[in-house]
């Protein structure tokens, strides 16, 4: 019966961000929030494991005043309870701070066999949090997991590297970061959505987490963020018909 903690991030939808043509400044004013795409896969993987073997899933999330709106979304996907840390430090937090806060918070939520999170978040895709958590919690890390299974207290993970697949076995507690291909996240049914509001959710304060000031200050300082300019040629081929378009294209490509 695995006891699983899943960490997710409440992020702005990058599809809603627009880039100002002249200054390349980002305009996030119309952006709505969502649970980071790959975190949904992580939640689903954990929930399915518990549906199969018993046990329960709880979620932990660290964010600003918007993060509270994520709880029903997360809970409608199957976890039994949610924890959240709402603090302005999250706005400038880098992976160092995030991992410090999450590790301390996870410690407050009780015993666990696994911490599951996505390999990276859809906004920054830093791919660090899982491995950092393992180091801070002093437990083994398994990253790039594509399959996850439980056999009487043994955790079996298929890990996907560039050329090989590792099949690893260990006993918990362990931190596992998963690839999106681990499973397809469900679309929650209406009953699950309505039941989500009745599941317990607990707010943890940063002050309860026994972190030093240093641990809450980011190590990476953001200097600037600009829309990416793609320096492509942008040649649109517009001959009279497709055959001529193709000829023109092949002409260009010969030169390249």
């Amino acid at each position: 019966m695995p006891n699983i903690v899943v960490c997710y991030k409440w992020v702005i939808n990058e599809q809603d961000i627009s880039v100002k043509e002249d200054t390349l400044e980002l305009n996030c004013s119309r952006a709505k929030y969502k649970i980071s795409d790959y975190d949904r896969n992580a939640i689903e993987a954990a929930v399915r494991l518990c549906e199969k073997y018993g046990g329960s899933v709880r979620t932990v999330s660290y964010g600003d005043e918007n993060v509270k709106a994520s709880l029903k979304d997360a809970l409608s996907r199957g976890p039994a309870e949610a924890y959240w840390i709402e603090d302005p430090s999250s706005i400038t937090a880098d992976s160092y701070v995030t991992a410090n806060v999450l590790a301390a918070a996870i410690g407050k939520t009780g015993a666990y066999d696994m911490v599951v999170c996505a390999e990276g978040s859809s906004d920054t895709y830093a791919q660090q949090t899982g491995a950092r958590l393992a180091a801070l919690l002093n437990v083994p890390a398994v990253t790039y997991a594509m399959e996850l299974d439980w056999q009487d207290g043994n955790i079996i993970v298929k890990r996907k590297l560039a050329d090989i697949v590792e099949i690893l076995q260990m006993k918990g507690p362990v931190v596992i970061s998963v690839l999106p291909e681990i499973c397809e996240p469900r679309i929650p049914g209406l009953k699950q959505v309505l039941a989500a509001g009745k599941k317990p959710s607990t707010r943890l304060n940063v002050s309860e987490l026994s972190l030093s000031d240093e641990q809450l200050k980011p190590k990476n300082r953001l200097i600037k963020i600009k829309g990416a300019v793609s320096e492509r040629k942008h040649v649109l081929i517009k001959e009279e018909d497709m055959a001529k378009n193709v000829d023109k294209l092949l002409e260009y490509l010969r030169v390249e």
């Binding site: 029903k72 409608s76 929650p188 049914g189 209406l190 009953k191 309505l194 989500a196």
Partner: protein
């Protein structure tokens, strides 16, 4: 648009959008072309507890409020109006049973409908009675412990697939008009009837529209809803609620048209610049956006009144009248913006224009709603 929705309602709306994009959008064109009944989509909706949204969970319903229900319908209609109507018409059927039926009737029929064990159909309209519903001729003659139904219904949504229909028939041949009409639950397994001609429609072609033919169809007296003579009241109460749902579908169709029109205006270049640079097009887009926003608020307002248990009939009529007419106007404009392309089968706006028309006709024509709204003020 920042609507006054709760977190939960926003989540429900997001989920409906996710489902519509994933499961309805890819098949909508095919369903329209083939006139194919969206059974697969309906089964998926049932799995997500969405085939009895506004009804109590103890009877298999979703237990959600009317606002959530109309949000869902708008998002579904935005991708496939035929599926949205199939769902709306089906969902409507459990309404009169839950509101006017006995506990026995509720327990027997509500779960079958809410869980989509049976499709539901609302059988009111006949060849001789559309807007003039009270002129219906289908008869229900008492015979011992049963009623024997004889007659034919026309233009019944889900008629060919329904396992349960709520039927309106004349129990008192000597009382003409509304007062002689009663409402029945007809269980097709126990009281078989035929689905007749399947109509080949202009739009919402995936929706199933048929005649229903009752030939000496025996219905047990226990299936009478309420009392004899209450039929028309039951019908109108149900339709009152139904019109909010049609309005929501109209808003969805119009929103889809706006989305297409915006995309095309930016894409299409004539005279060396996108159509979007032309004021004529800009004004069309502005009017579309304005009317959709207004219609959406009317729909939500009517739904909110319903949820609060306050009178909502006139507001529902206003929402339906406005939403349907603006959906028709703006889908036509959207086709116009697409030019020749908009006239070709396979272009989304061509289907939207054909789909929009039904909203001006079903569940009370625009003319009926004008009667209702002015009647309220001028009585």
């Amino acid at each position: 648009m920042n609507l006054p929705l709760t977190e939960e309602q926003q989540l429900i709306q997001r989920i409906a959008r996710e489902f519509a994009e994933k499961e309805l959008e890819p098949r909508a064109e095919e369903i329209d072309k083939a006139g194919e009944f969206p059974d697969e989509a309906m089964r998926m909706l049932a799995d997500l507890d969405l085939t009895g949204v506004p009804y109590p969970q103890e009877y298999g319903g979703g237990g959600a409020d009317k606002i959530s229900y109309v949000l869902i319908l708008e998002e579904l209609a935005r991708s496939c109006a035929a599926t949205a109507l199939t769902l709306g018409a089906h969902t409507m059927v459990a309404g009169p049973i839950l509101e006017f039926g006995t506990q026995e009737q509720i327990e027997k029929y509500a779960p079958r409908l809410c869980k989509l064990e049976d499709y539901g159909a609302f059988a009111l309209t006949e060849a001789c009675s559309g807007t003039d519903a009270g002129a219906l001729m289908c008869g229900a003659a008492r015979d011992g412990d049963d009623y024997i139904i004889n007659g034919a219904k026309m233009f019944i949504t889900n008629g060919g697939y329904c396992g349960i229909c709520v039927l309106f028939a004349r129990t008192d041949p000597d009382t003409p008009g509304s007062k002689g009409v009663s409402a029945f639950i007809v269980d097709r397994k126990e009281s078989p009837f035929e689905a007749g001609k399947h109509e080949d429609k202009m739009g919402i072609r995936g929706s199933d529209t048929t005649e229903l033919i009752f030939r000496n169809c025996r219905v047990p007296k226990g299936n009478l809803i309420g009392k004899e003579g209450q039929g028309m009241r039951i019908a109108l109460t149900t339709l009152n609620v139904g019109r909010i749902t049609i309005a929501a579908q109209a808003v969805g169709i119009a929103q889809a048209a706006l989305d297409e029109a915006v995309k095309h205006s930016k894409d299409r270049r004539q005279f060396g610049r996108p159509l979007a640079k032309n004021q004529a097009i800009q004004w069309m887009i502005a009017d579309m956006a304005r009317d959709i926003a207004a219609a959406r608020l009317l729909v939500l307002h009517a739904a909110k009144l319903y949820d609060e248990g306050r009178p909502f009939g006139v507001e529902a009529s206003m929402a339906k009248l406005f939403a349907a007419e603006m959906a028709m106007t703006h889908t036509v404009k959207a086709v116009q913006i697409h030019g020749g392309l908009g006239y070709i089968r396979g272009t989304k706006v061509e289907r939207l224009m054909r789909d929009a028309k039904f909203t001006e006709i079903l569940e009370g024509t625009s003319e009926v709603h004008r009667m209702i709204i002015s009647g309220d003020l001028l009585k």
